[in-house]
Structure formats: structure tokens, C-alpha cells
Subunit: 105 residues, 2 copies
DNA sequence: TAAACTAAGTTACGAAATGTAAGTTAAAAA
DNA sequence: TTTTTAACTTACATTTCGTAACTTAGTTTA
């Protein structure tokens, strides 16, 4: 009666990527390692949610967190290998958006 | 001071795709045209949100809605050309998930 | 010596989005 | 006449989100 259910790995991937802001954060980090405040300014996300998402992405091993011992401390975030491996997917979305998405209305 | 901001088209694409369930719904519809109840059962989404999302995807011209005049009426949903054009992006995510995502803990 | 400044968060709280379960509609089969 | 069905819709409780103010500790400024 049931057809094939959706693959659990794919479903988990979407659960991570579709959690609001996550894809945009990964996209932003494709530019290279960046500090908390830089990401915040570039992406336009709130402190609360940014901290929450970076923690999530760190736990998922998509993002790496490095403390720079200065005063005050700075924190640098960068993509892991797993994170970088998302580049083709993001480029595909970028490609799609440039062809199909229009902003005017 | 500011570096380059994120492209508005890409940002809009993510806004649509990252709205919860949307990507999964599109992925499901890659299988072919399907009725409301089929989608609901396959994806495991609630009635309320499914109706809401299908409406959104229809407005975005990603999904097409067709009434089948039976009793009771059936509704068939299918991807538009714009919707089908997302296949490469979804395949890229699928590819990534098969390499990098594991479910066990 | 004290007040001000900084980066990276955290907290409190109201607003918006989500899940759950029950209700609606119209025609046809029982 | 009651029941059934598909595709929603509604009401309501729970969860998530955005906003803005607060925290922490070492350093420069007054």
C-alpha cells in the first residue's frame, strides 16, 4: 500500500539544512573562516539564534569553532570538510535561483 | 566596511526552500504527480501545514494544482518546470547526505 | 582609581509559527 | 436516511523566533 518512504539520511540532511538560517550560514562560511560578529552583520541574524545555530552546526560537525586568545576573546568559525562538501548543493541552489527566482512584485 | 552582501535571489530561494517541509514536499513530488492524501501519508506532515505549504508552492509557481472531478473531488499536485529545475539541487543534497550524514548515535 | 569599551554570547519576554485533533462540505454508496 | 470519502479548515496548546537588554573580563581612557 505504501510506496517507498523517504531515505532517513536525506531526511536528516534536510532537517539540518532547513532549520532556519543554517543554509545561509553555511553559504556565508563558504567565503572562508569568519568571526561571530562578521557572520552576524553579513547575514542579519539575531544574536540569540546565531549562537543557537552555530552550536547546532558545530555538533553536526559542519562547522568548527576556534577561540582566538585576544582581549576580548574572538571566536572564529569555519566549515569542516563535511561543511565544505555542501558547496555543490549550495551552488546548485544558487544556479536555480539565478534562473528561476525573481524578486520584483 | 561591509563585505559583499548575499544575493537577494539566492536569499529568496532559501526563504522558500528552507520554509519547513517545502524541500521535502518538492523531493516527494519528483516521484511524479500525486494527490494530497498521498503526499500527506508519504511525508508525514499535518493537514494544516500541508495545505499551507502547497498553497505557498503554488503561488511560487513551483507546484501545479489540478482538480480531478470525481466524488469526492481529488486534487493532484505536480511540479512545474520551475519545480523540476530543482532536481539537481536536491540530488546534490541527497548525494551529500549519503556520504556525510549518519543516523545512528 | 574608576568609568567606558569590546566580543561573544545569554536572558527575559512578547509575537509568530507549528502540531494535534476535531470539524466541514458535497455527492454518492449502503 | 445514514455513512463514507477527499481535501481541506478551525481552534487551541506548544514551540520557536525576534528584540532588546544584560553579562563577563581584560584594557584602554579619563
Amino acid at each position: 500500500m505504501d510506496q517507498q518512504k523517504i531515505c532517513p539520511r536525506f531526511e536528516k540532511a534536510l532537517k539540518i539544512l532547513n532549520h532556519s538560517w543554517n543554509t545561509l550560514l553555511i553559504y556565508q562560511l563558504l567565503e572562508g573562516p569568519q568571526r561571530y560578529s562578521t557572520i552576524k552583520n553579513q547575514v542579519g541574524i539575531s544574536s540569540r539564534v546565531l549562537a543557537e545555530r552555530l552550536k547546532e552546526l558545530e555538533i553536526e560537525n559542519i562547522v568548527n569553532r576556534t577561540v582566538i586568545p585576544s582581549t576580548p576573546v574572538m571566536i572564529e568559525y569555519e566549515l569542516t570538510e563535511k561543511g565544505h562538501a555542501l558547496a555543490p548543493a549550495l551552488k546548485a541552489i544558487e544556479q536555480w535561483s539565478s534562473t528561476w527566482v525573481n524578486i520584483e512584485e
